[in-house]
Subunit: 278 residues, 4 copies
């Protein structure tokens, strides 16, 4: 039997689980997994269920929506490979990690293309028979360059997620709006420490004993979008900033791949500039 | 309104969540938190709900039991300080950590007493106005000593948990049976590595790069009971086994206190020699 | 034979190790452990040796100083319990952790007193037969209060380290100057994230997935002194800021105690607002 | 100026550092980094120095050997890319991680070939223009198969390290002797827990809360060689053994790559079935 993922985000009120599980019961759905969370402070209810059964997804979505408070959002998601585009600049570690997983069939996604402002990573990407598109920023202002990037991205059709695998250009609000809640970035620090440029240099100057990486959705404020995943490694005084950068790469790529996997499996709710992750 | 914790452990079948949440709805319970897990391999359903409402706990327990498969177990637990006894031998770090938390009001429990086979820790314990009972093993065989310990423990009345805070005596099956699923131990290794005596020496001999500690319920097979919590710290070649022991103590005490807290908050299900923890 | 710890901090130049080890050899010292680090960027050499032998500490220090560049600092430290004073406000976890270690003989130090701006922790401290001095800030301005605290501290004689075990008052530059490089603080966040007040609330608002604690020396800029140790724990969306605070306490106390141990064992060099730790 | 790595492993005695650093001084060597460790229990001295200067490596090695106890071993290593061969079976994550690093120029090594008992990974490897050799075990007994593998390996000329990147065949003592201290394996558990086959299944059955991976040199006893690096990740009851395997892969690949890097940088001493790592 087919499996569906059901995501519900609703104002909290008594009886929500009862109403929802009643519908599941009436449709003779088999519950594979069920997660709920109530944010008491904001009085908000989140639920993610994986169910197996013989259903019409849009009818079920409709039915659940009717039962729930009208501010609720309900998604009944049928199994389907998601379409993603990767963006990168010069470094290959985060991109390469995704490519190896893709090749191994580990990602439930189609990589439509890799887009970069340099052609440096083309040799790597082309090994995997994935289209590589260079959109150079040379001789263009930020707006002109981004317009070309957006056009390029839109030429690929429907995109579920854009993964910034060390794409080192700042995005404008227009870009972020165009792909709202679809852009996943890896920041090479333990946010909110060391926002902005050269976080490893900043970390070196500050003399920290731990460095980290943060995967997050991108919003209009640089490095301030909802955090999906974070990880760290211990360091010591013997690490120069280049050593930090080298060691940090291992954390970056693991964290970005983990965040991508959570997104592809529809495990992330975004709200109040935070994430709820099941 | 009073809060109740409801624990349900049942063979899995369709409609469980529906049936249970219907009862919650009918009793106008406010769901504070809700966690479910289905072990697909063993077709077993676990649920922990914290609810607020005006209920009769035993009636609600009865009602839920009637609805569920007859092999299910249901506990509706009213808020009540649990009674615990600590046991220790010579080392004070794990015991001391619990005492400091107790003093700070961090533990929702009454410490009835500390029982030891030595009187070494009496000065520490007596600072906290907690009865300290020495049951020396000198001149007694294992059985005789344990009989005295059991009698001592039973003299305290109803005990919810016995916490072995570095109690360095092996328990017989009789002891374990007498306090089934109530004995929490801290083992000073990352189980199942280094079962048995002197795990730090074993770890030193093996040249590991990480050491750890494991809190677990005690069953008849030494160091093989259901694991509640584990934690580790990195070490290196410069650590002699005494250094490992010293560093390991920090992990031991944190892990044991964490396990105790999980137990006191009714967050642990035990089955198949494993734990489900919400 | 007595063991001495030798700390050398010098401009780097060729032959330093040779010159130093020659002196060790001539004095027939047994090298127990030897650590060196060269900060290439600042061309600075650090060395910590633990040696056993029959020596006159001040003569050896004199001899080494003569051999080394004149900007070098040399300390030959004979084994001697250090004198420390603890300061706290209301929370007992960090203070209690140190007290339990002290009682167990784990700290190579004399705790001269605990100083607090409240009397809340007096019952705990007095259990351990350690003087507790309340210096209330009520009806005093910052300067007046601090003057009284400094006078109190100076009344204890020579102090090696002042440990701020959750002392929740901001220190003035005068205080910091009076006890330069002697004040160890625990900050309840992963610095430099969440500098300032209520870091757990800040962390909650930001939706981080990891929280941490930082032990550091105090300098004139709040939360910006040289970092000694940092540690983290993973959290998730289900943690309210009170939960973060509760979980964070375990990290805070372990990190502070670890930093204190490093200081008591003369393992820390401070320079350029950073630490080198052997 | 050229940089050399000097490795010294010697019975401990007074004056070793003095004698060695005197030679460095006389040769006007610039010490880039210097690490020493004395294993007091076994009275053994280890030193790793990176020096810059104008030297004859074999003469310097000779000179140091003459000065030191005759059981000492001295290696003066000139900078030179090491030759490695990778071996794998079916899984691509550990192999792929090394290939991506290789492609990025991150590994100071030549990958001579990848050898496998299946041809499954050939498409991946051939993308990187690295020879892929299948030595099938079908219709061969263990000895016959291994003889063919050894012959294949020897056909590549001098090999510095053989990296078992999830090579799932047991090696005979003959194989291990042929490439003594040159074979690096990744074991998919936190050794010594779960030695042998299917460690993730074993971990699942045991109900552990943490899983890990161990990189080690291979000796005659399966999974019992000197440990180079270990790492872990926390898991919980919701992980089936397939989930553990999936999550474990991230740890495996990072740990194996880290161990390989340590080996390529000549940072590992092996003795007493342990490692000293600088």
């Amino acid at each position: 039997m087919k499996q569906y993922t059901i995501l519900i985000d609703s104002p909290d009120e008594k009886g929500l689980v009862y109403k929802i599980s009643k519908v599941f019961f009436q449709h003779e759905l088999n519950i594979i997994s069920n997660n709920e969370f109530v944010d008491k402070e904001n009085s908000r209810f989140f639920m993610r269920s994986v169910v197996a059964g013989d259903i019409n997804a849009s009818q079920l979505q409709e039915k659940l929506s009717t039962l729930l408070p009208k501010e609720a959002t309900v998604h009944v998601i049928a199994p389907k490979k998601k379409n993603i585009v990767l963006m990168a600049t010069k470094e290959s570690h985060a991109l390469g990690d995704i490519l190896i997983r893709y090749e191994a069939g580990e990602l439930d996604a189609n990589i439509l293309a890799v887009v970069s402002n340099y052609d440096l990573l083309e040799p790597l990407v082309s090994k995997f028979d994935i289209p590589f598109v260079t959109v150079s920023h040379v001789d263009l202002n930020r707006q002109e360059h981004e317009d070309k990037v957006i056009k390029t991205l839109q030429s690929f059709g429907e995109i579920d997620y854009i993964v910034l695998a060390k794409y080192m250009r700042i995005l404008t609000p227009n870009f972020v709006d165009t792909f709202r809640d679809k852009i996943i970035n890896i920041h090479h620090s333990f946010l909110p420490a060391f926002i902005g440029a050269n976080p490893y240099k900043q970390a070196y100057e500050r003399g920290v004993k731990i460095i980290g990486a943060t995967a997050h959705f991108v919003n209009n404020n640089l490095d301030e979008g909802p955090i999906i995943a974070q990880e760290i490694i211990p360091i010591n005084h013997a690490y120069g900033w280049k050593d930090m950068q080298r060691s940090g790469r291992d954390v970056e790529k693991i964290v970005l791949s983990r965040a991508l996997k959570l997104a592809l499996e529809d495990r992330i709710f975004v709200y109040e500039n935070k994430t709820v992750i099941f």
